[in-house]
């Protein structure tokens, strides 16, 4: 026993001496809040000049960010990137942003939110839809702190002054990515590269879409994508498969495979993994004329010749606006949704397989969206059950009955204007949901 204790002591001493040598490079502010704050204020005063429109003292503000994943996951990475850029733009020192990574969508989100408040945050953001009700619970208990549930939809009806939602008009970017796909389809048809299996019974070219869940956010997205394709190449029909998960590499790959087996030429997606583009790339390598349009991140890494582009969010636009409000001591807007007008959405670099002239067509459409001459959900461009839509009520009071507010006026569906979260729920002609629940 004695020997054991001696050897253990030796081990302990070695360990301690090891750590003593390499102490200094640790960049961690973990030793209590005091340190962190001190350094933060210094750097804040010294080298960050206040940004335009910032009247308050940015170095005094502490902001909490609750993330469903970490930097290894595309969706969360985009948020981290947006927050960091926004903090820099507004002049908030990096140490004043407190991060909570990999927070599941349960009471841990509430714990994290309250803990951030305890640490002195005056605003807390969460990036996943499932965090919403826990954020709302925290907002009810902490009326002096602002809470924002990104991609959520209950802020307006919660009646809380300190609870907000925000989303981008990603449907605009999906529409543009649809144009990219449409250009490719037109090129394939002209070159005679498609075979009979790529056409449905009515002679439409078939395209596919891998969706996460059958609800408005996804419906809005795939409809915008479809209308984008249709704006370039009229005769298309689309099949949608749901994976019932936001991130499931295997299921998304499987869905893409079965869509391609049906003859779909372009596979769009509203799910967060690289499953579908990877599957499309291998079918493409096997000689099939199939292409992929991704989401969130550039898919050229996994599908160098099959990926055309991806629709993507630029979250820093929102975070910058919200951070300015926080620094200025103002209220963050209850519902925020902006798109191309503020460059809050975009498509990623066009892949090498894109048809000639795609960039021009894309620029033209973006300009038209910006100047208001082009509306994605223009009721002249689609029908429901064979008829033009002249009225669509959406839910505003949270009873999940679409009976409150008229979203169709001036000839288009006003997506994300009445509330931040997408509300386009119409199932239009030409799109078939293969796995609707």
């Amino acid at each position: 026993m004695k020997k054991k204790i001696v050897s253990m002591a030796v081990a302990a001493i070695t360990a301690l001496s090891l750590t003593a040598c390499t102490n200094e490079p640790a960049p961690s502010p973990a030793n209590g809040e005091g340190d962190a704050q001190a350094t933060a204020t210094e750097s804040g005063d010294a080298d960050v000049a206040p940004a335009e429109g910032v009247t308050g003292d940015a170095s005094e503000v502490k902001i909490g960010v609750i993330l469903v994943g970490d930097e290894n996951e595309g969706y969360t990475y985009a948020h981290i990137d947006g927050v960091k850029k926004a903090a820099e733009a507004v002049g908030i020192p990096a140490d004043n942003i407190l991060w909570k990574y990999s927070i599941p969508e349960d009471e841990s989100c509430y714990d994290a939110a309250i803990d951030l408040v305890d640490q002195g945050c005056t605003a807390v953001f969460s990036n996943s839809y499932g965090h919403q009700s826990f954020m709302q619970q925290a907002a009810e208990e902490e009326p002096d702190v602002q809470f924002v549930s990104m991609t959520g939809d209950t802020a307006a009806m919660s009646g809380l002054d300190n609870f907000s939602n925000a989303f981008t008009n990603i449907y605009e970017a999906r529409y543009i990515s649809g144009i990219v796909a449409g250009m490719k389809i037109a090129e394939l048809v002209d070159a005679g590269e498609l075979s009979d299996e790529n056409y449905d019974a009515d002679g439409n070219v078939m395209i596919g879409y891998v969706g996460a869940y059958p609800y408005a956010e996804v419906v809005s997205g795939y409809t915008a994508f479809y209308l984008g394709v249709k704006s370039v190449y009229e005769k298309v029909s689309m099949e949608v498969i749901y994976t019932n998960s936001w991130f499931d590499i295997a299921a998304e790959g499987e869905a893409a495979n079965s869509l391609m087996a049906d003859g779909c030429v372009v596979i769009g997606q509203h799910a967060d993994s690289t499953g579908a583009p990877t599957a499309v790339q291998s079918a493409h390598d096997a000689g099939k004329p199939v292409y992929s349009v991704g989401y969130n991140v550039d898919m050229l890494g996994v599908a160098p010749t099959a990926a055309l582009t991806s629709a993507t969010n630029n979250w820093s636009v929102y975070y910058t606006e919200a951070f300015k409000d926080i620094v200025n001591g103002e209220k963050i807007p209850t519902d925020w949704a902006k798109g191309y007008t503020e460059d809050a959405v975009a498509i990623t670099t066009l892949g090498e397989s894109c048809a000639a002239g795609t960039q021009e067509k894309v620029d033209e459409a973006i300009a038209a969206i910006k100047d208001g001459s082009l509306h994605v959900f223009d009721t002249d461009t689609f029908t429901v059950d064979g008829a033009k839509v002249d009225s669509a009520l959406i839910d505003m009071d949270g009873d999940f009955e679409n009976d409150d507010a008229e979203a169709v006026s001036d000839g288009y569906f006003h997506e994300s204007e009445l509330r931040a979260a997408p509300s386009f729920y119409l199932r239009i002609d030409g799109i078939t949901e293969l796995t609707a629940e």
Binding site: T19, A26, P27, A30, Q136, F400
Partner: protein
């Protein structure tokens, strides 16, 4: 030497060790945790260059740095301990109940159903109904594999494991039935306005009832296993079914009775998770606790109070993980690594408590 020369003496032999004093046992166990922390420290330092003491300090801050943090760590500890208490009688009987995950979910579904459908009832009757029904649901979920084991000697490991998947699918079904809003695949917080079916605050703390319930269960389970006839029967069946039969114990009856109890407590854990913590239900409500609790129960040798301690250690590491991710830029894999190393060392210490190594050198010296 003459007899041994024919057989090559192995370099090292493992010899059973008996009668280590309980004081030294505890010392070895504590030492193993300390050594594990030192090894983790060296690894952390080598890989990331961080000062391990700062990392541990941060973990401690994350778990106990404020009253609220302490209580959420304790809440996690109680959840884990509750499941372990449920598993203890089954494992002591050598009935491999891998199905706690499913039993928790079933208890959770029933609790959520009560919160949604019986929200007009006054608080105390509602909570009592939820308690009883979730226990019954967990018990019934465990009854099926128990009957098959008792009557036809089917493999309970596979059976209970499969039941987990059925429970997960059932949960998905109810989530899509209750989802709010439609299509979002989340139920959201149930009764957030009325708080019907939520554990009430006692002494100004949300989780007091969780603590009271689990400590009570821990004490009752300790008495049950140590001092009752049932507990004795469980121990005998666990050691040898044939001995049990010879002694006139009805083995089938003991198996079924014990699994009903085990399932009921796991069902209550589901009630704790839904009513006492998350106030919602999802497929991740059990969150792997059904499996982690197996480690807790085994390491504690089914002793309730050790189970509480080990649950505390794991809950502490879990809560600390979030904090080191946010403060030290280590993500939660780092804490998984630390948990892994600590468990490895604790298991090793059990080995050295029960066995000792004899090296060849001794043999030569003797010769």
């Amino acid at each position: 030497m003459s007899d041994n020369s024919a057989v090559k003496d192995p370099f090292v032999r493992v010899v059973k060790r008996d009668g280590m004093k309980s004081g030294s046992k505890i010392a070895v166990r504590i030492a193993s945790v300390i050594v594990a922390l030192i090894v983790c420290g060296i690894l952390i330092n080598m890989i990331t260059g961080l000062n391990p003491l700062v990392v541990y300090e941060t973990m401690f801050q994350g778990a106990f740095g404020s009253t609220r943090r302490s209580f959420s760590t304790i809440r996690e500890m109680m959840m884990l301990a509750c499941v372990a208490i449920g598993l203890a009688p089954a494992f002591k009987m050598k009935f491999w109940n891998i199905g706690a995950e499913g039993q928790i979910l079933i208890g959770g579904i029933v609790s959520a159903a009560c919160m949604i459908n019986l929200n007009k009832l006054p608080a105390i009757p509602l909570l009592l109904i939820m308690f009883v029904l979730s226990a019954v649901a967990g018990a019934l979920w465990a009854l099926l594999p128990a009957i098959f084991k008792a009557k036809w000697n089917t493999n309970e490991t596979l059976f209970t494991l499969m039941m987990n998947y059925v429970a997960i699918q059932l949960t998905s079904f109810f989530v899509s039935k209750w989802e709010n809003p439609k299509g979002s695949n989340t139920v959201g917080i149930i009764n957030s306005n009325t708080q019907a079916g939520w554990f009430p605050e006692i002494f100004g703390q949300k989780y007091t009832l969780n603590i009271i319930m689990v400590i009570t269960l821990a004490i009752l389970m300790w008495i049950y296993l140590k001092y009752t006839k049932h507990g004795y029967e469980i121990a005998v069946v666990g050691d040898s079914e044939n001995t049990a039969r010879y002694a006139g114990i009805n083995v089938s009856k003991v198996i079924i009775r014990t699994m009903l109890l085990s399932g009921a407590i796991c069902g209550i854990a589901g009630f704790l998770a839904v009513s006492g913590a998350s106030h919602t239900i999802s497929t991740s409500t059990a969150g792997g606790r059904g499996f982690t609790a197996i480690i807790v129960a085994w390491l504690a040798k089914f002793n309730s109070f050790y189970m509480l301690l080990i649950a505390l250690l794991l809950a502490f590491l879990g809560s600390g993980a979030t904090e080191i991710a946010s403060k030290c830029k280590l993500n939660d894999y780092a804490s998984d690594m630390i948990i892994g190393i600590i468990l490895f060392f604790i298991l090793a210490s059990e080995f050295f408590i029960n066995y000792r190594l004899v090296f060849r050198k001794h043999a030569k010296e003797e010769a």
